[in-house]
């Protein structure tokens, strides 16, 4: 073997080694103090969840991340939060109109993206959950999602050496309680902030939009932003988007929570951040593409139960305007968030 060859091979090896250490899914990536500092993005309102009684720590966040990716939270240990909430889709579930849970059971609703949850005033399509900390209980105990009994989950965690250590590192002792488990998951989910899309950078004068995209922003502001309000692209209200209810699913929407007739067929206005990544669309995933969503608004053939005046203003889009809006919506894709290695699967080896 010539010296040249040895050098080339060893350089190559070094390169491979370096690469393997720095790929975004590096399992050895350790969470540090800086990774758990919640920063208020410029131009964003004050968050609703302030981590006041749940100060994020590297160990707490690491525990929450592990719990999010661990199927131990489901009854038969097959389904984790990440089974439905996929990181590459801003934690929505690509290509599945309705969520899939344990035993292949199909849920009633489309999996929403998880982002900017700290600003959420309520959660789920119907707003039934009032605090991010208790949100995980809903999928965990839902018979068609993870179908667990909270007590059983805690028992499983208590039997695990990994979790006894992880809880101790996070909380100083090995007590494993629902409060600690939920707060750790919330350190992880609450930290998911998307604020570095091209749109954000444009607003901060760090990047530009093409004329076409910019036109889209202008039409969007006129027709859509009353409900999908900047910068979070939701006003947290419950509205009807004029969809005809699916007679098989029989989903009453917000009415399920309030019992009020005026809330029937209304759903939480979803954020449109990373929307190009989160297909299919709507609470029941009935639209496969943004084109279909825009066609729905533009056609204006709305199911009129409980629709609001803002919806009527969203009609009458020309074909060019539809394309411009879609081009604009694509500028809401936030690669920094999608590839943020803090949120990568730690169980991946």
């Amino acid at each position: 073997m010539t010296i040249k060859k040895v050098v080339t091979i060893s350089t190559l090896l070094c390169f491979v080694f370096l690469l393997s250490n720095f790929t975004e899914d590096n399992p050895y990536f350790k969470i540090g103090e800086r990774d758990v500092t919640f920063q208020l993005p410029k131009g964003f309102p004050v968050p609703n969840y302030t981590f006041k009684n749940n100060k994020p720590t590297p160990a707490g966040f690491t525990l929450g991340r592990m719990l999010f990716y661990d199927p131990i939270l489901s009854k038969d240990s097959t389904t984790s939060c990440a089974s439905c909430h996929q990181r590459i889709a801003a934690f929505a579930h690509i290509d599945h109109p309705l969520s899939h849970g344990i035993n292949g059971l199909i849920g009633k609703r489309n999996v929403p993206a998880l982002q900017n949850l700290a600003w959420g005033q309520s959660f789920m399509w119907d707003g039934g959950v009032n605090n991010l900390e208790v949100q995980p209980l809903s999928p965990m105990t839902n018979p068609i999602e993870m179908n667990s009994d909270l007590g059983e989950v805690l028992k499983k965690l208590k039997h695990s050496d990994y979790y006894r250590t992880a809880f101790k590192e996070a909380y100083g002792d090995t007590l494993i309680s629902s409060e600690r488990m939920l707060k750790a998951i919330t350190q992880f989910t609450g930290m998911m902030v998307s604020s570095n899309s091209r749109y954000d950078k444009f607003m901060r004068h760090e990047d530009t939009l093409s004329q076409f995209e910019f036109n889209g922003l202008i039409v969007f502001r006129e027709k859509c932003a009353k409900c999908h309000r900047e910068p979070l692209f939701t006003d947290e209200s419950f509205k009807s988007s004029g969809l005809m209810p699916d007679t098989l699913l029989n989903d009453p929407g917000r009415e399920l929570i309030t019992g009020r007739y005026k809330d029937e067929n209304t759903y939480k206005v979803p954020s449109l951040r990373n929307v190009a990544m989160t297909y299919p669309y709507m609470h029941d995933g009935r639209f496969r593409s943004l084109e279909q969503v825009l066609d729905h608004y533009a056609a204006g053939k709305f199911y009129t139960l409980n629709i609001s005046p803002e919806l009527l203003e969203a009609r009458n889009l020309s074909d060019v305007e539809k394309k411009e809006i879609i081009a604009f919506l694509k500028t809401l894709t936030d690669k920094e968030f999608l590839y943020d290695r803090r949120f990568a699967d730690p169980t991946y080896r």
Binding site: N54, G128, V129, N131, V134, S138, R260
Partner: protein, 270 residues
């Protein structure tokens, strides 16, 4: 040397006495503050509750048995004759029929006063329905929590009845909800003068015994008549309504449980 030691000893002694008296002063002002036990006796029209095997009858003659009974009481206060209110701190209690220990509640550190009434909520105040992950009585592991429509289940009564149309002849009343129009939090206020035999206050200037000693309440004993849930302002027909698991029909049952408590008697120390 001996003298020096003595000085040291004296100093220590003085220090000890001083500490002891400070400690004594802070703990012993006899008659200043005391603890009162609140005891709850769950029953059905005066009959003991025995899971599965005891059969009860509601006012319309429907038979039923009980298989599960749990409920929250919270925010306990005592009000004295001048209107001053003693508030029991951190008072969230889950009363479980299967755990007698939960039926004794210790109200600690009550200042002496002429107390005329006790109040509490059946349920959990709205703030604590919105406070995220909590522990103790409010730990969701107690299975008194709705995960799909966040909030505590304030009251759970489950059982069986031959007239029920639910599978297995069961009935279940899970009552909760802190928001209008289905707010099921109910405030109960009971007059402590209800016990007429004896003077009734924690520290009653007029409540002296012939030998001059004062009577002080040591425990307040309440009866919770579970039958009232079905037979109150609204009479529940188990055949028609065997399952209440969300806000539908819940407020009517809450109006009924509001009146299930009564004062049985008071116990005193001399």
């Amino acid at each position: 040397m001996r003298q020096k030691l003595n000085i040291v000893q004296k100093t220590i002694m003085i220090f000890c006495i001083a500490t002891a008296s400070v400690v004594a002063m802070s703990f012993s002002p006899v008659g200043e503050r005391r603890n009162i036990k609140l005891h709850i006796w769950n029953n059905v029209g005066g009959k003991e509750i025995i899971y599965d095997n005891a059969t009860y009858k509601n006012s319309t003659g429907q038979d039923y048995t009980i298989t599960n009974l749990k409920y929250y009481i919270s925010n306990i206060t005592l009000t004295d004759t001048s209107g001053k209110v003693f508030t029991n701190k951190d008072s969230y209690y889950l009363i479980r029929q299967d755990d007698p220990a939960t039926m004794d509640i210790e109200l600690a550190d009550i200042p002496m006063g002429n107390y005329k009434s006790i109040s509490f909520l059946i349920g959990v105040d709205s703030l604590h329905n919105c406070s995220g992950a909590q522990s103790g009585a409010l730990d969701p592991v107690n299975a008194m929590f709705w995960t799909w429509n966040t909030g505590y289940i304030f009251f759970k009564l489950e059982g069986k009845s031959p007239v029920s149309t639910s599978p297995g002849g069961i009935f279940e009343y899970h009552i909760g909800g802190y928001k209008a129009p289905a707010n099921c939090i109910r405030k109960v206020t009971l007059d402590l003068n209800g016990d007429t035999d004896q003077p009734n206050m924690v520290n009653v200037p007029t409540g002296k015994l012939p030998d001059g000693k004062q009577l002080k309440i040591s425990s307040i004993n309440l009866s919770a008549d579970i039958a009232k849930i079905m037979d109150g302002k609204t009479v529940i027909d188990i055949a028609k309504l065997s399952s209440v698991t969300d806000f539908r029909n819940a407020p009517a049952i809450a109006d009924n449980y509001q009146h299930m408590f009564s004062l049985s008697n008071l116990n005193y120390d001399y």
